[in-house]
């Protein structure tokens, strides 16, 4: 058994276990931290897939950015009136049925499919290649992604600021 194999199973287990914990946990803060573990697990899986740059990005953006954002969200919306990190579930029966079915179907599809495999060799430096692609073939998506982030930031500010405060300013 090679190391990569062991690592794969390990990280897969971590990822899926954390994700499952996140989904089923009653406490939202616990869920958020479980999500962190899941995301880290995914990053590790990226490494196994030779995507080291992506793994780094995953850690930076997701764990460093999005997760913090989510935690902020949790805090902001759970503070103020009551401290309540507990959350409840709805649609439990249909949701579990549907997601279980989805899982079964997807796994069935993946397992039965005869994939055309053409494995690539372990690349030396994905960062360079990715950078070249980004400035070349993917220049347009790159720029657009920038615009998207700009819009998202302005939109987020727009949505999160209090209007009532402005009203007081007499606008």
């Amino acid at each position: 058994m090679e190391l990569t194999t062991i690592l794969f199973y390990l990280f897969s287990l971590i990822t899926l276990g954390a994700a499952a914990f996140m989904v089923f946990s009653k406490n939202i803060v616990h869920s958020a931290f479980a999500l962190m573990f899941a995301l880290i697990g995914v990053a590790a899986l990226y490494v196994l897939l030779y995507a080291d740059f992506l793994a780094a990005t995953q850690l930076l953006v997701y764990v460093g950015g999005i997760l913090i954002l989510i935690l902020f969200g949790v805090m902001l919306t759970s503070l103020g009136y009551t401290f309540n990190f507990k959350t409840v579930t709805v649609n439990l029966a249909p949701a579990s049925l549907l997601s279980a079915t989805a899982a079964v179907l997807l796994i069935f599809a993946f397992v039965t499919t005869d994939w055309k495999i053409s494995e690539i060799a372990e690349p030396t430096d994905t960062v360079y290649d990715l950078g070249m692609l980004l400035m070349g073939d993917y220049i347009l998506p790159f720029i657009v992604a920038g615009v998207l982030l700009l819009i998202a930031i302005i939109g987020a500010i727009l949505m999160s600021t209090h209007l009532s405060a402005e009203n007081r300013e007499g606008v």
Partner: protein, 111 residues
């Protein structure tokens, strides 16, 4: 069959990663469908996006897709960040108006 199974246990190939992503996807769906808390739902969405990303990167390793897959995954992460920012801002806004972020209770519009 047994041999195939044994082999696949031993060597993690494309299918292994896909299966992981499938389970992750389903868990995301589960969260989206079943959690009352809006933020939980958003976390579920993140799981879905991550599962797709696993696919992209797995394909980039195991098929002729090569780096394109990683590229797409990169953009997906950016998109996820933007979406999360906006979504959380909206959640805050809703929280200000409804004093709750339980999706179940946000249902004035119907019929």
């Amino acid at each position: 069959m047994e041999l195939l199974l044994a082999q696949s246990v031993i060597e993690p190939g494309l299918t292994h990663f896909l299966v992981v992503s499938a389970i992750l996807f389903s868990l995301g769906v589960m969260a989206v469908l079943s959690r009352r808390n809006t933020i939980m739902v958003l976390m579920g969405v993140e799981l879905i996006l991550n599962s797709a990303n696993i696919n992209f990167i797995a394909f980039s390793r195991f098929t002729e897709l090569s780096l394109d897959g990683q590229m797409i995954a990169l953009f997906v992460i950016i998109i996820a960040a933007a979406e999360a920012a906006v979504a959380l801002a909206i959640v805050l806004n809703v929280y200000n108006r409804f004093k709750t972020i339980n999706l179940d209770d946000i249902s004035l519009l119907k019929g």
